[in-house]
């Protein structure tokens, strides 16, 4: 059972658009990822444990785990254009954090702006996907995720929360949709 939990990757998706959140969640789940969706950069940071003050209200199936435990995230996918903290801001904060900087980050945007793309890649984003994101885009993620896994195994670090099971997959889309 723990083998199954280890091979399933956990993706944190960040997007202020409700429709896009629904889409990316469904897309990721179809590709057998474990998914958590949030609607802002600040909520993403809270979920990742960077802001201990506020209690998180992330749309995670394991909402019961309102503990101070750090949740293992294997990949972060974030929209670029978001009010408040942009995807770029979020990317920077993640790369500046000792605990989070090794998590691969992917930026999504509806606009094809080369300078924007370059800026994000220079700041450490692994990929830049044009929206709407396709299944083919997700296929590009595996190498980045496997890289992270291998690194992990080399350091012989046991994931803190590897008991999380694939049972959460059965959670219906209604429950994981964000409040408007």
């Amino acid at each position: 059972m723990s083998m199954a939990a280890r091979t399933q990757f956990h993706v944190l998706a960040v997007d202020d658009s409700l429709i896009d959140r629904m889409l990316i969640e469904r897309l990721l789940k179809t590709s057998s990822f474990h998914v958590t969706v949030v609607d802002s950069g600040s909520k993403a940071l809270e979920f990742l444990g960077l802001n201990e003050n506020k209690k998180i209200r992330a749309e995670t199936p394991s909402a019961a785990s309102e503990t101070h435990q750090v949740v293992e995230v294997n990949l972060i996918m974030t929209d670029y254009c978001m009010p408040g903290m942009t995807g770029y801001d979020l990317l920077r904060k993640i790369k500046e954090s000792k605990s989070l900087k090794d998590i691969p980050v992917v930026i999504m945007s509806s606009e094809n702006v080369p300078s924007r793309i370059n800026r994000c890649l220079e700041e450490g984003a692994e990929e830049f996907f044009l929206k709407p994101v396709q299944q083919a885009d997700l296929n590009k993620l595996k190498p980045h995720l496997m890289k992270g896994r291998v690194k992990e195994e080399e350091q012989v670090i046991e994931p803190i929360n590897n008991k999380r099971k694939g049972m959460e997959e059965s959670h219906s889309p209604e429950k994981t949709r964000a409040k408007i």
């Binding site: 658009s17 429709i19 629904m22 396709q134 889309p173």
Partner: protein
């Protein structure tokens, strides 16, 4: 009408929506994400699109109605509408939004107002088409049939 006929009618109607440019490949992606465990996925996303769009169109109408138009705000609304229409595959609405955006950049008020009318027209057209499509799907299911899987071969 028997189920087979209804299904053929559904397929013809769907094809026409693609051929006439109302919908593009992204809509097919949505359909592919729907399965037995998520049988209402497309309908859910589309109804969200309807709610979202109508709110944005109202906001845009108000924005352009002001004595002193806040083009930045209007642009933000259009950006959102462009994004959501792109996400569900509403191609004509999306294309209209693209034009609208450049008119906004130029701050061409009259052209913007005319363009907004275009966007509304395209939106209500595709809304009507999609509602018709969903109506057909409901009839098929009610008659005990299943919705065919669309192929990209046309």
């Amino acid at each position: 009408m028997e189920v087979g006929q209804m299904q053929r009618q559904w397929m013809d109607y769907t094809k026409s929506l693609f051929l006439e440019g109302y919908l593009d490949g992204q809509f097919l992606q949505l359909q592919q994400l729907q399965d037995d465990s998520n049988p209402d996925f497309v309908a859910e996303v589309v109804s969200l699109f309807f709610e979202d769009s109508e709110r944005l169109l109202n906001d845009l109408t108000n924005a352009l109605d002001q004595k002193c138009i806040d083009f930045k705000k209007a642009d933000a609304h259009i950006h959102q509408l462009k994004g959501s229409s792109s996400s569900i595959g509403a191609e004509r609405v999306k294309n209209c939004c693209i034009i609208f955006r450049s008119l906004c950049e130029e701050q061409n008020i009259d052209a913007c107002i005319r363009c907004l009318q275009q966007v509304k027209q395209e939106y209500f057209l595709v809304k009507n088409k999609l509602e018709t499509l969903f109506g057909m799907e409901q009839q098929i299911v009610a008659a005990g049939g299943s919705i065919p899987k669309m192929e990209l071969s046309f």
